[in-house]
């Protein structure tokens, strides 16, 4: 759970950084997108292999994460089958409480995201086979898609907020009360950076700052 989660957090940070390329113009963005699917790591691996190795690793991480979550949830539900008549939380955060259902919502959003931008089976204002830059502009020029995207990214960041802290603690990094404060702070920083980083582009497109 912790390892697969952290792999995906590192991916999110790289993905967010890549998205910001949109501000360098259509040529730079499309070139970057094609480079990811072609020349990257060439000649270490044959051209076009990296993306498939990468997709395999991500798929394995997602599968491992979902499997671990299912096993963990099943155990936790059965070990707390009877509920308190009077509930009260001292410590529990909203992010911690919503890890399971937040994770499910996140996964549904991810499937849509891949159908939309990778497989291009669900198109939102662009023709299938469009260049990446055009897809981004066509999609995020529509306010409701920006809103839906913002909600989804928020759910992702909420998951990351508890996930980063929890993963590092599971791996043994919580060595003292000050380490606990640091890890929680780190989780907050990563979540906020991801939210802001992912939302800059759609908002810029919506307001016509990028065309």
């Amino acid at each position: 759970m912790a390892l697969t989660g952290l792999i995906m957090v590192v991916f999110l940070l790289a993905h967010m950084y890549g998205n910001l390329k949109v501000f360098l113009g259509a040529d730079a963005f499309d070139h970057y997108a094609h480079w990811l699917k072609g020349e990257i790591l060439y000649p270490l691996v044959p051209e076009g292999w990296f993306i498939w190795i990468f997709r395999f690793v991500m798929l394995a991480a997602i599968a491992g994460h979902v499997y671990a979550a299912a096993v963990l949830s099943a155990r936790n539900v059965s070990s707390r089958s009877s509920k308190y008549a009077h509930g009260h939380n001292h410590q529990q955060t909203y992010a911690a409480r919503t890890m399971q259902w937040g994770g499910v919502i996140l996964l549904i959003g991810l499937i849509f995201h891949l159908l939309q931008f990778t497989a291009q089976l669900v198109t939102t204002g662009f023709a299938s086979g469009s260049e990446p830059y055009h897809m981004v502009i066509a999609t995020f020029s529509q306010w409701w898609l920006v809103l839906a995207y913002a909600v989804w990214v928020f759910v992702v960041c909420l998951h990351v907020r508890h996930g980063v802290w929890s993963a590092l603690t599971t791996l043994g990094a919580n060595t003292s009360p000050s380490a606990r404060a640091f890890l929680n702070g780190l989780a907050w920083v990563i979540a906020v950076v991801l939210f802001v980083g992912f939302m800059i582009m759609p908002v810029a497109v919506l307001f016509g700052w990028v065309q």
Binding site: K83, Q92, T169, T170
Partner: protein, 253 residues
């Protein structure tokens, strides 16, 4: 003071339970929560009703026997930010005329025996799996013959204050016993005497708590927030570090 109670009544392990309301009059603010329950039980006994069963022993906050969930908080703490045991909670912490909900620990591994009493044998099973050191008993050795570094010794003693009351499990939304187990692991892992069995211990104790039906830890932190001995959450990371190390060691197999 007058206190309105809603108490979980359950005749036996197999019986259905429910919340029952009681009105307790003549409560002194200097009474502990358990003494207030004693007062109610005297009244119930005189009326010929079954008194409320609850666990208790030393009533000094050091034995780990007592513990009920009061208004949703394990052990209850009323308005105080400091966690304590139920026996050390006093009625002055509550308002006159207050309505208080009293429930047993609720966790799959802690079945209710009667009313507010739960079976915590599962904790004994975890200890039996490795919460000890295997040395031949004999005369105590000279104290300076085994040096223990101050920082580690302090951590060991802090972790050893765990009284095994089970509040961590009761408070955990997953019903996990990680804080309890990690307190025992940290206690023994920080001392020279605990080293020979350090890695086999952590694997055995974690495997046992999983077998017993405790939930998994998701680092929410409710456990440490209610622990009357304030066992810190970082003991859980200590357990995890030892468990990861055990994967790469022969004695951890």
């Amino acid at each position: 003071m007058i206190i309105n109670l809603r108490v979980w009544r359950q005749a036996s392990a197999s019986a259905e339970g429910k919340m029952v309301s009681y009105r307790v009059e003549g409560v002194s603010e200097d009474m502990s929560f358990l003494e207030m329950l004693d007062l109610l039980n005297e009244d119930l006994t005189l009326k010929g009703e079954e008194p409320i069963a609850f666990d208790h022993d030393c009533r000094e906050g050091i034995c780990g026997m007592c513990g009920v969930v009061i208004n949703g908080s394990a052990h209850g703490r009323a308005s105080s930010p400091v966690p304590t045991t139920t026996c050390q909670l006093h009625m002055r912490s509550f308002a006159d005329g207050a309505t208080i909900d009293v429930e047993p620990w609720r966790a799959g591994a802690f079945p209710v025996i009667k009313d507010l009493v739960v079976d915590r044998t599962a904790f004994d099973r975890i200890i039996q799996a490795g919460g000890f050191i295997s040395v031949n008993a004999g005369a105590a050795p000279e104290a300076h013959s085994v040096p223990a570094p101050k920082i580690e010794a302090d951590r060991a003693f802090d972790a050893a204050t765990c009284i095994g009351c089970g509040a961590c499990v009761a408070a955990c939304p997953n019903g996990s016993s990680m804080l309890f187990t990690s307190a025992k692991i940290t206690h023994l892992a920080m001392l020279p005497q605990g080293q020979p069995e350090r890695y086999s211990r952590v694997k055995a104790m974690v495997a046992t708590q999983d077998e017993l039906g405790f939930g998994g830890c998701t680092n929410i932190g409710e456990c440490a927030a209610v622990c009357p001995k304030q066992i810190p959450l970082d003991t859980i990371s200590q357990l995890n570090r030892d468990l990861i190390k055990a994967l790469f060691r022969k004695d951890g197999k």
